[in-house]
């Protein structure tokens, strides 16, 4: 294998692994922020226990997120030194800001996790979630601006292979920044809401501790509420992305859609199999004119086709499949969440409970499918930028390291991720398997739960 391919595989592998934990890292804080708020306001020990248990499990995923994040941070220089030498001139600012955001989060997360019983007034403890949510979401924002710069570079003059006259803010807030940041953040929130909904659904299906039913039902309701809002926002983000790609990165949109001829009234192609030689698509579901509409809110929008783009700048056409997967897995969550609320609101007439086992199976799939959507979305975004590392300025093949030993490095990291993945699943399962939520609730908040007159908000005496 050549070094470019190994370098890409290694980076792809690290990112695919990191993205799981990074998504958890961005999404979970907002969940325990909401749950603890509900718990304190309603004096409901269930919600407090829930936020506490989730925060406990979160620490394990944070640890893996931190170490894999460190890996990707350094791997950029180790695998793509020429890119960092050139790009370092310009992405230094957001990378630096990301570190600050992460620093901020790390400090307050440490405090949050070890001060559950330390404040007289529980609202003080809740306030700690603000810097955590800010820090984790802002680090996603800043790092996404870096990736956006690689897709739509801006804010410099390119003279003799160097970036000159750099405007750091223009580079950071390049054309694709806003739409991508929005997309990344809301999908992270959505995915985590569905992940936790999955846990509630599975626990309701296979209750080991029957006394936990109320707890999991409450959990499911909160997660579905967050999930449905975030899924709607995700749809909006997806629509904005299509319009943005049409304007700024037409080759990517054309490759998503196997769109070869530049034309108005372009069709939206779903699924199908492509014969690359003849440019013929078989077994597809073709929705007439919709691509034009998605790209520009009008059927008359002219959508650029791949045949008008130089062949050596074509992204790989396989990304169409990732596009399909992302859209369908993402929409699945939205659909199921809507079903949950419809059934819940109409149960008086239909006599079907929103916790019907069949429905629970449907809810249980939302988490894993949302994660698959995230992975597919990133594969799509990153492979769709090929062959460029900085679109229009530097090719991936010119950026890879000249050092020997990429092959062995690839193997070593693959082994590492397998081990880390297995151990974190093992620890997480062990952490919750033998302890019912009810038992922990009693342990933390006592027999009576929280008395309504208890002004301390449930702090143990």
């Amino acid at each position: 294998m050549d070094d470019v391919l190994i370098g890409r595989l290694l980076t792809g592998m690290t990112l695919s692994f990191h993205i799981i934990f990074a998504t958890i890292g961005v999404g979970v804080p907002i969940v325990f922020m909401v749950l603890e708020f509900l718990g304190i306001r309603n004096r409901d020990a269930h919600y407090l226990t829930m936020s506490r248990r989730i925060a406990k499990g979160y620490t394990v995923t944070v640890a893996v997120g931190v170490v894999t994040g460190t890996i990707i941070g350094l791997q950029l220089s180790l695998i793509w030194p020429d890119f960092m030498r050139l790009g370092g001139q310009i992405i230094a600012l957001p990378l630096f800001m990301e570190t600050f955001a992460f620093f901020f989060e790390a400090i307050f997360l440490g405090i949050y996790l070890y001060t559950w019983d330390r404040f007289k007034n529980q609202w003080y403890h809740w306030l700690l979630t603000i810097p955590i949510v800010l820090g984790s979401s802002l680090s996603a924002v800043f790092i996404t601006t870096v990736n956006s710069f690689m897709n739509t570079p801006a804010g410099f003059d390119f003279v003799d292979g160097e970036f000159l006259n750099i405007d750091p803010l223009a580079a950071m807030f390049n054309p694709s920044t806003w739409v991508r940041v929005f997309h990344v953040v809301v999908t992270a929130y959505m995915t985590i809401a569905f992940l936790l909904a999955t846990i509630s659904a599975v626990k309701l299906l296979k209750a080991k501790f029957t006394e936990d039913k109320t707890y999991h039902k409450k959990g499911l309701k909160v997660m579905m509420s967050i999930g449905v809002v975030m899924a709607l926002l995700t749809m909006l983000a997806g629509d904005l992305s299509a319009k943005f790609l049409h304007e700024e990165q037409p080759e990517k949109l054309a490759a998503f859609e196997w769109h070869f001829e530049t034309e108005e009234r372009a069709d939206l192609v779903l699924f199908g199999i492509l014969d690359e030689e003849t440019q013929e698509v078989k077994y597809e579901l073709r929705i007439p004119w919709v691509l034009s509409f998605l790209a520009g809110n009008s059927f008359d929008t002219e959508v650029k086709g791949l045949n008008d783009i130089p062949e050596d700048e074509h992204p790989p056409l396989i990304i169409h499949y990732f596009f399909d997967l992302m859209v369908f897995f993402g929409m699945y969550g939205l659909g199921v969440a809507i079903v949950y609320f419809l059934v819940k609101w109409t149960k008086r007439w239909t006599k079907i409970n929103e916790h019907h086992p069949l429905l629970l199976y449907l809810y249980a799939l939302t988490g894993p499918l949302s994660f698959l959507a995230i992975e597919a979305g990133w594969f799509l975004a990153e492979m769709g930028r090929q062959p460029w590392i900085v679109r229009g300025y530097m090719r991936v093949s010119d950026a890879v390291t000249q050092a020997d030993g990429l092959g062995i490095t690839l193997i070593a990291f693959a082994v590492l991720y397998v081990i880390l993945g297995i151990t974190s699943i093992y620890v997480l399962i062990k952490m919750f398997k033998d302890k019912s939520a009810e038992e922990e609730k009693l342990n933390w908040y006592g027999e009576t739960g929280i008395e309504s007159e208890d002004v301390t908000g449930g702090r143990l005496p």
Partner: protein
């Protein structure tokens, strides 16, 4: 408008963060090792609670100091990404793997229902190997191990493997981890009014002070052989190294007489500060001898300005947060003693 010397600002900021990382990470790495060691000797019931009470809330923060340094250096001096990135592919990846194992297994072990000795071993032992592998970057920065030809860069691995200077730095890194960490734990255990624990850590500290003294001499000798220019330059700053030695003598004296462990730890920090900044200043203007010189490798002016602004703003948020963290877990007597259900 006054023109700012960004290359000096950049390197001062980064060097200070690297210094802080050396101190904080040493405490962390050493604590992990002592935790494992005490399980082997059966002293773990004395010392492990103290160690975990300190480490649990701060371990993530430690890691950020490191990330901060490498993001900062690539930001201020993008050439370092090219030279160090290319030459450190293997040693850098090794350090990353060790760091990941340590960070992850530390968390796995502390949040698992019962801790496992094999996991203690994983994060205890990697804690000593990480400083060793990271110090390779400092060794390489002295020059002589990288060759730049028309084909590109090559790291002369053989030269590196048989280098006296290289090995003395590696051992210095390992020994100072144990020295700094035992010094801190003596202070922390004493603050917890845990006499047994502080006696144990005091012994460890006294044991490790002698090798610390010896190995620093080797580093100087190694540097003289390896990079004459740097060695001679270092002599101009003899007083910094003298102050470092003086701080060490005072620190060891205080600990030996069982007095003022807090002051003793400050002296240990000063000891390393003098030596670390003395080494750093005498190294200038080179970041990587002779390829990266801070005067011509600094990032362009606009970016350097933006980075400096962000850095100042960042510190305005970070310092109070770190103070809060320290107040809650380092200087709160009840927490340190393990009183109450914290």
């Amino acid at each position: 408008m006054m023109s700012l010397d960004y290359e000096i600002i950049g390197i001062t900021v980064l060097w200070s963060f690297l210094y802080l990382y050396v101190i904080i990470a040493s405490i962390d790495f050493g604590a992990g090792f002592f935790n494992f060691y005490s399980k082997l000797t059966g002293d773990d019931n004395i010392i492990s609670p103290i160690i975990s009470r300190y480490l649990n809330p701060v371990w993530e923060t430690t890691n950020v100091f490191f990330v901060f340094f490498f993001v900062g250096i690539v930001g201020f001096y993008p050439d370092t990404a090219y030279y160090l990135g290319t030459s450190l592919l293997i040693p850098g990846s090794l350090a990353l793997i060790l760091l990941s194992i340590r960070g992850a297994y530390y968390a796995f072990n502390s949040y698992n229902t019962e801790s496992k000795l094999s996991w203690d071993a994983l994060y205890g032992l990697t804690g000593l190997l990480i400083p060793a592998s990271l110090s390779i970057a400092l060794v390489i920065s002295e020059g002589g191990y990288i060759e730049e030809t028309a084909e590109g860069l090559t790291l002369n691995v053989e030269e590196l493997l048989f280098s006296t200077y290289g090995w003395s730095v590696v051992f210095l890194a390992i020994i100072s981890v144990l020295y700094i960490s035992s010094g801190f734990l003596t202070f922390y255990a004493n603050k917890a009014e845990d006499e047994k624990a502080s006696e144990l850590t005091r012994t460890w500290f006294l044991i490790w002070s002698l090798p610390t003294l010896v190995i620093t001499q080797f580093v100087f000798l190694g540097l003289r052989d390896h990079n004459q220019v740097h060695f001679e330059n270092a002599q101009n700053y003899w007083y910094l190294f003298g102050l470092s030695l003086l701080s060490m003598i005072l620190a060891v004296f205080l600990v030996w007489r069982r007095r003022n462990y807090g002051t003793a730890f400050i002296l240990i920090m000063l000891q390393f500060a003098f030596a670390f900044f003395g080494y750093g200043i005498s190294k200038l203007p080179y970041i990587l001898y002779p390829y990266i010189n801070i005067n011509d490798a600094v990032v362009n002016e606009n970016m350097a300005f933006a980075l400096t602004i962000v850095f100042v703003l960042g510190l305005l948020i970070l310092i109070p947060s770190l103070v809060l963290l320290a107040k809650l877990f380092l200087f709160d007597k009840d927490y340190v003693k393990g009183n109450k259900k914290y």
